[in-house]
């Protein structure tokens, strides 16, 4: 994992706040009931006005008709005034994004399932849990986003292996080490035990069309 102090824009745990305007690939993890994660390419951070997102995409789970349902919503000119509702905001280094880009459109997996609309593949919840691993066993799903304890995995594709565990390919991982320091890394392949997975959301391609 790379130490990325210079690209931590905001960290509630270590009380870091770097005021300014940032462009690039930025992940914001929220501390709310939806377990939201926000992806954006432009943010403005200030002590007084909080975090301003010109354009972004928020994902998470919500309760609809007594059932959990994954969502992804576009955010335009969105401001989060209360910074205590954000756990961290990290800008992924460009060299890692280049590695991530190279894994895209791989020749090895031409037949990947693209979901049209965002859906929950897995949610670890006592009351409203979701588990579609068996249904998608052996299939390759495009655009998974997963929350794992304190970490986020954003991958190009995910496959459920013969143990029933998700295997992510071409992934960006953001997480905390044992000292609670934020780290970010790129992995071509990551297998995760489903016991540590909080949720996996498959992003629908319709949601990404501008």
């Amino acid at each position: 994992m790379n130490h990325i102090n210079e690209i931590i824009l905001y960290d509630l745990v270590h009380n870091i706040i770097k005021e300014g305007e940032y462009l690039g690939s930025i992940i914001t993890k929220c501390k709310d009931e939806h377990k939201s994660v926000i992806f954006s390419d432009k943010v403005k951070i200030s002590n007084d006005n909080g975090i301003f997102l010109e354009k972004g995409l928020t994902i998470g789970f919500e309760i609809l008709n007594h059932r959990s349902s994954a969502f992804s919503r576009k955010l335009n000119d969105f401001t989060i005034k209360d910074l205590s509702t954000i756990e961290y905001c990290v800008k992924i280094p460009d060299d890692l994004m280049l590695l991530y880009d190279e894994g895209q459109f791989s020749d090895t997996f031409p037949f990947t399932i693209n979901l049209l609309h965002t859906s929950g593949l897995y949610l670890d919840d006592y009351k409203h849990g979701i588990n579609h691993f068996e249904f998608f066993y052996g299939e390759i799903l495009k655009n998974p986003i997963s929350l794992i304890n304190n970490g986020i995995i954003l991958a190009d594709r995910v496959v459920i292996d013969h143990h029933g565990d998700p295997v992510f390919y071409d992934c960006l991982i953001v997480g905390r080490d044992e000292n609670e320091n934020l780290k970010v890394s790129y992995e071509p392949l990551t297998n995760v035990d489903d016991k540590v997975v909080e949720f996996i959301i498959i992003l629908g391609i319709e949601e990404l069309k501008t």
């Binding site: 954006s40 390419d41 354009k55 880009d101 895209q104 020749d107 031409p110 037949f111 990404l208």
Partner: protein
Amino acid sequence: MLLYENKKAKLLSILKIGINPFKKFVSTGEIKEDLGLVKSRESILQNIVDIIKEEDNFILPIIGDVGIGKTHLFWTLKNSLYYYNTIYISLDTVYKKFFYSTYSEFIDAIGVEPLRFIVNQLCDEWGALDRIYGFFHVADIEKVKKIAIQKLENKYDRDEKEALIDVINGIVTHQLDPFKKIEAEGWLLGELMNVRELSRLKLKFDLRKGKNAYIMLKLLIENSKLGSVLFIDDFEKIISITNPIDDETDEVFDPSWLYGQSQNPEEISSQKLLQKIIKLQSIKGLHLIITLKSDRSLEEIKERFQELSKEKTIKFIEPIYIENFTEDDIDDFYLKSMKYFLENLGLTKLAKAEFEYYPLNKQILRKLYSSTNGNPREIIKHLIKIFNDIIFSNNNLNAILREYESEQL
């Protein structure tokens, strides 16, 4: 363990199996050759490499007699130019469908992986990897095609636009449409396709038709990380195409009845070929090397190029001449060939042994030089004959050598 081994006897017994160290007296563009150049020609090779590295968009003539080693020079050039795609072109094979045939030779030489890499880079430049919300790639095929056309249309003539659209469609489909990738790759590799296959890929023609192959060649050469060298062998064939058949041949049909006195169909096709070569020569990053037999051919070709390219001048580099072998060259060639032969058989210890000129001797090599004037092809022909005698004759080696020493080769 052998304490003593008669290496000369061993070499002779290996030859007696029936393997001749000298097999080929004509070098071709198809069969790879690893034998290096003789000492006197090493400077020629270095000279060519320097020109390729320093100059751009040129035609470099290499002049030498028949059998002097022009095609062999191609192989040594290819083996020394690590950072270039060096492609051999014979006008005989590419004369018809010039761009398509040249493209096929090019793809054959570079391989599929570099092709995939280049088209991937192109798609990246055309915005295929643009990220939405900083992370997500949404391959909007139509948008990528549009950007590609905008970026490239000014670099191509108006009459090439249709071919350009086809090429962009082929590349973008290959990279961004996983369900048509295999067919699109076939198209990029020059596969001939029927209308149904083409319409599935939303393409008008395969690479055989129109200027598709030229556009693909230009895109690949200009975007390749390596430079490209096109080695066109026996270039004066382009003159012989237009030259009238000798007077003694009876001609039942005189083409001038149809085409007038000034131009016959051969001349028109030759002109077309030259125009295509001029077009090829203008591709950035492409170096053209042509081989000719005489200065006269070069002058004639220069004139023809000048007539056809009135608007711009074609950059001809001063020709490089290949001369016959010197006496030392024969020795060098013979020793290198024998060493290469033994190494190829896996007899590395024997290859390192000092045989002098065994099984021949210096006297025979001198005789070879005087009877062939140092022409490499003639020398190899004689060597084949002598070694065949050594291999298949029932006489002992000394008797055979004495015969060759005394008689006229």
